[in-house]
Symmetry: C2
Subunit: 419 residues, 2 copies
Amino acid sequence: MTTIEILKAAKAACPVLAGLTEEEKNLALDSMADSLEAETETILKANGLDVEAAKDKISSVMIDRLALTGARIKGMAEGIREVAGLPDPAGKVLKRIEKENGLIIEKTAVPMGVVAIIYESRPNVTSDAAALALKSGNVCVLRSGKEAFRSANAIVEALRKGLKKRGLPEELVNLVQDTSRESAKELMVADGLVDLLIPRGGPGLIRSCVENASVPCIQTGTGICHIYVDRAADQQQALAILENAKASRPSVCNAAEVCLIHREIAGEFLPKLRKKLQDCRKEAGKTPVELKLDETAAGIIEGSRAEEGDFHREFLDYVLAVKVVDSVEEAIAHIAAHSTGHSEAILTEDPEAAKKFTLQVDSAAVYVNASTRFTDGGEFGLGCEMGISTQKLHARGPMGLEELTTYKYIIRGNGQIRE
Amino acid sequence: MTTIEILKAAKAACPVLAGLTEEEKNLALDSMADSLEAETETILKANGLDVEAAKDKISSVMIDRLALTGARIKGMAEGIREVAGLPDPAGKVLKRIEKENGLIIEKTAVPMGVVAIIYESRPNVTSDAAALALKSGNVCVLRSGKEAFRSANAIVEALRKGLKKRGLPEELVNLVQDTSRESAKELMVADGLVDLLIPRGGPGLIRSCVENASVPCIQTGTGICHIYVDRAADQQQALAILENAKASRPSVCNAAEVCLIHREIAGEFLPKLRKKLQDCRKEAGKTPVELKLDETAAGIIEGSRAEEGDFHREFLDYVLAVKVVDSVEEAIAHIAAHSTGHSEAILTEDPEAAKKFTLQVDSAAVYVNASTRFTDGGEFGLGCEMGISTQKLHARGPMGLEELTTYKYIIRGNGQIRE
């Protein structure tokens, strides 16, 4: 089927899904999870072909993301069952007004309709996204990266078998069969067929969506996260937070990429920071975190010199850019000019500085004295996560099931007319 | 100043506005209202020039929308004072989570930042939009239609005088000085400077925004509203509702444009409908509502024949397209293919038909047995209205102050790091 044919079939299936009860949706999810486990062999075989084909083309970190095992497939099935256990956001009455004339107005959460998701090489995104979409009443159209296509296709086939067993149309979960750039563009401009597009990927994909998409779109996941160490910071605390934010898992979007530090304490703090980011890696037998230093920082500690581009880059690696600033105001201005709007932190014992920072920094998550690594659907109490929105419209920060719904006003009367 | 210069000044003024307390914002609004009244003479003079210049170019209905009087300016000032009385949405904690590790996560409503509004010839939109933006903590950049530019400029100058009196920067309320199409396009692609774009105008403007805008945008106001008269309708009630929805104020977006009618009752109901829509206008000494009939309806009553385009058109006039359908399913399918997603109604005493209609019709407001004319910020309890969103992302239906905010997560800790 062409991408447009798939979208039309998806759109046509929306009323079926919107008409299911929560229990029916949960049974469908359980059946999908069972089917995924039952098809383990088939999925592993497809995944093996993907891994084999990708071996010389992508890094070993990416190969690790791509490769499946029986245990990983079991984990994916468990993930689907967990989604079944989350509360159903659709149908919830968000506000109810009873007018004097007897009209009853109910602002009611409803599914978006067709949710399209463009992602890259992690096969587990296929089952996660399908489960979250289904639970929230949305028909999903998934568009996997080329490297993971065989795996994604085998997973979707398994999920569809699960739907079929429950007597439901396979078109509730769909995979675009074309992995060329063209198919991503088709999704971006499928006005009337795509109710929400979620690109999950690098800055190139996000930028392409912003520039080309005429369908509603939520930007996700690019995180140039800043940690500002104020002159009034608790420095021991600051060292622990920076280690956690940079080095605990640098490949994720809530990892810190930039440390801004107040000039007054730079001379004292930077040597300690350098030592900390060396030691923590030494314990693991690895090379230390690379520091990219601005001119002032380079006058205090050793490290490579930062180029201007380094303050606009999501390293996703053991690399930290460091810049010395004169004030909290300068830190805020630097963040305004360089941030992707994901997560930023101020480390300070000064309530005035903290207040200014939380008020003026315009990002999804703004921290005082904590690691940016907490920006996550699970940590924020959403129970799951479809992605982390870095835009302000509709959803900001971690997106759970509620964020995959819109609302409509349902108004019931008995003949009311307006004066 | 060029449009980009205005946008940069607006962006720079955001922290000032975001830092004001509710009381400070209310005092600013009162001062703006006072100043508007004080400048009545200047505004009327500018408006006179607009009206004079537009006389031969636009219809008398449009001239009436454009023309101001002392009383209308007083009304605009009252409107600003009413907005001051509405609750402030910014700063409200929407959700609060206290984690076991001591982290406190607050999902907090915050202003969008810079809100740009493109509108047409009603000068009162200038003061309404400025007041709603300011109360919700947003700096507004207004872009008036060419015909109303002198009026809008005089109004904005008056509002800025009011701001100045309170010691606030004039840049909290801005008017684009260029009324060419180019300036509208500039707003659509001012990435990083416009946080929300609200086009208020005809389908051409909305379409242009959907196609060209790379900034976040909310489509508003185009309403091809349908009323479906089911076979189980109370016909007397249906006549009253159709008269109200079509003829009480046809120039507004919540007026009905299309009547769909079940085949089983068409023969009985259509002659009554025709008479009703003649009589109601006759009482006012006006020509009757024009009916544009599909083939089946034309076999039952007199009227002009509808062309296919008539079912895609917002008449905004005493014109109603009429189509006979075989079932509620056919009505739903027709609406899915032709609606702008604004407001639709089913008139029926059959709860099953009503349930199917409210579940499957994908519009901002879905009515059972009431007039579509109720879709309005005031009627829906929002206290005001910036426009009526016909999209699903962020805000749907009437947009009040809350819909002009986004949120951010503010997380306070004392050194927490993630395991």
